[in-house]
């Protein structure tokens, strides 16, 4: 037997084994991602109640969407609630800077700030719903100490979105803080020492060293928060089960869910879900592209 054939036989065996190993996730991908995706796109062009056969309607669902004031409202609500993203970034960077100091208790603080991140969003939504209770909630009791008469947060059109934003910032702070902390700790010290020698003030060092050095984390957090934020659902569903006062807190996923499983307008819901998918796809794609260029490569 020549070396060449033995080698190719060995390779063939390796190929076969590798194929078996990757076949499982690839099958899962085909069954539970690719096929549903294609079906979603198809269903988005039909009138379909999920029970009888879909009837092809062309672009009807898509044109309907932009005249649907509830769709536009839920889209607007979803965007509005993303105000929490920059807020959370600023606070978590400040926290990370504070915890980056050489002092006692930072491990304890890290754990405490991380607790909300690991807590289930369902349980957190329930406890914040209670905290936002107009008469007996924790928030209004706290405001009462300052002599402020708090609103009935979740029933008031003016305060329902701020309430949800406050909760989201509280829940996500520990995560972004941790990433910032990891980034801060990998900034070489000599940069600050050199800057200090050149007479740079603390603010200048922060502005010209810290901010640029943590930029990849900032970018990553912005992109993933937008992806996560565009899919906000659980809080809305538990805290404001009817979409809030005058639909003020209905999010896009909440509306899709309601249309699909309550009103059985599966075709229309599919069209909205395709729009959401395109949005998330675009953002993720940008992230992967920029990441690949800056940080790592696939082989």
């Amino acid at each position: 037997m020549s070396t060449i054939t033995r080698r190719s036989r060995l390779h063939r065996k390796e190929h076969q084994a590798a194929l078996v190993f990757v076949a499982i996730p690839v099958t899962g991908f085909l069954l539970f991602t690719l096929f549903p995706l294609l079906f979603s796109v198809y269903a988005s062009f039909t009138n379909w109640n999920g029970i009888s056969a879909p009837v092809f309607k062309g672009l009807d669902n898509y044109t309907k969407m932009f005249g649907d004031r509830y769709f536009l409202k839920s889209l607007w609500n979803t965007l509005y609630m993303m105000i929490g993203i920059p807020l959370g970034l600023v606070i978590s960077l400040a926290l990370a800077l504070a915890m980056n100091r050489k002092m006692r208790g930072t491990t304890f603080f890290r754990t405490v700030y991380y607790l909300p991140v690991i807590s289930s969003i369902a349980a957190v939504a329930i406890l914040w719903q209670w905290a936002f209770n107009g008469d007996f909630g924790l928030i209004n009791q706290g405001l009462g100490l300052l002599g402020i008469d708090g609103p009935n947060w979740l029933q008031d059109t003016a305060t329902v979105k701020p309430a949800l934003i406050i909760m989201a910032v509280w829940k996500g702070l520990g995560y972004s803080m941790l990433l910032y902390l990891a980034a801060l700790q990998s900034v070489p010290r000599y940069l600050y020492e050199a800057a200090a020698l050149d007479g740079a003030s603390a603010w200048q060092q922060f502005r010209h060293i810290t901010i640029p050095m943590v930029r990849p984390v900032t970018f990553f957090l912005i992109v993933t928060s937008i992806i996560g934020g565009s899919q906000i659902f659980v809080e809305i569903n538990i805290m404001t089960p009817t979409g809030g006062p005058e639909f003020e807190s209905a999010s896009i996923v909440w509306y899709i869910w309601q249309k699909a499983f309550d009103n059985l307008q599966m075709g229309y819901a599919s069209a909205m879900s395709v729009v959401l998918g395109l949005l998330v796809f675009t953002i993720t794609f940008i992230q992967f592209r920029l990441n690949r260029r800056n940080q790592f490569s696939i082989d």
């Binding site: 194929l19 499982i24 100091r101 899919q231």
Partner: protein
């Protein structure tokens, strides 16, 4: 797929410094140093630390207050909840609330269902993910990178886009109102985990796989005896994160599960919330919520270091 809509971060190459791992190294930068003399700089440092600790403590109170309030409320009487000024320490302590909840709703079966889903998905799914990661990182195969990029593209599609067809598929085979739609997709592995383990395996030299091949070991043997031990820390961290994600999942269960007997814990407590709020039985709701938080809190406290490190690792180079 429940694991996909809870993507915490695309795992990247494990580099960078881990918080808490290297005490002293790279920490505690003192920007005030250099401007004044050594002694006053030290004094400034101490004052700064005290101020920072105070601010961080105030923040910590805000982070913990809602959780503490939940626990405190769960031990109150129904009327104690509405007392003004609020009682932080319940008077009297009503430990019976924790006995009452088991009869008040299907909490026990909720825990069971959540355990069944989370354990089966993460145990089987981690194995299939690790096998695939091994093949993608260390084995030769035609179209390997095309397949890998294809899988990765799945990460860009949010679960809400897939949920309607997935529901239809599972409904057509009669799986709605069973745990199967929550379990089966997860058994096929988790793309994020494959990605992470594949990156991790890049630091394992190819030569050990080749040497084992020359010794006549099969690929499964190599996987068990060489690869699994090598990726254990990464696997453990990803496992815990995935477990918590499945345990905390809400959207997929609410789509598939209707009857109380099949519901997972998150649904059970959400129903408690809707049902008992009308009766203003807040202690009961809070006790149930606290029970739902407890398993993850325990897992977190036990594996705190691994969890925090893996988050810091997976995102730090983002």
């Amino acid at each position: 797929m429940s694991a996909q809509n809870v993507m915490t971060s695309p795992p990247l190459e494990p580099t960078g410094i881990i918080p808490g791992r290297e005490p002293g190294a790279g920490r505690g930068r003192n920007r005030r140093r250099g401007s004044t003399g050594q002694r006053s700089a030290k004094g400034g440092l101490r004052l700064g630390n005290i101020l920072t600790t105070l601010i961080l403590s105030a923040g910590a109170v805000i982070m913990v207050a809602p959780l503490a309030w939940t626990f405190s409320t769960s031990l109150k009487t129904k009327d104690g909840v509405f007392e003004l000024p609020p009682q932080w320490i319940p008077d009297p302590f009503v430990w019976e609330n924790y006995a009452r909840i088991w009869a008040a709703g299907p909490l026990l079966s909720g825990i069971q269902n959540s355990l069944i889903v989370a354990c089966s998905v993460t145990i089987v799914g981690s194995l299939t993910s690790a096998l695939a990661a091994f093949a993608f990182a260390k084995m030769r195969m035609p179209f390997k990178n095309v397949l890998f990029l294809g899988l990765l593209s799945g990460l860009m599609i949010p679960f809400p886009t897939l949920m309607i067809p997935q529901f239809t598929i599972f409904a057509s085979i009669g799986w709605v109102d069973t745990l199967l739609p929550l379990i089966v997709p997860g058994l096929f592995g988790n793309i994020i985990m494959i990605f992470f383990l594949r990156q991790f395996l890049n630091s394992v030299p190819d030569s050990i796989v080749e040497a084992a091949r020359i010794d006549g070991a099969s690929y499964l043997q190599i996987f068990w005896t060489l690869i699994m031990p090598a990726i254990r820390p990464a696997l453990a961290a990803q496992f815990i994160l995935w477990f918590m994600a499945v345990w905390n999942d809400y959207l997929a269960p609410i789509i598939y599960l209707n009857s109380p007997a099949t519901q997972t814990l998150q649904l059970v407590i959400a129903n408690f919330n809707a049902q008992y709020a009308i009766q203003t039985d807040y202690p009961l709701i809070m006790a149930a919520s606290f029970i739902a938080l407890l398993p993850v809190l325990i897992v977190f406290i036990v594996f705190q270091r691994q969890i925090i490190e893996s988050i810091a690792l997976s995102g730090s180079k983002g």
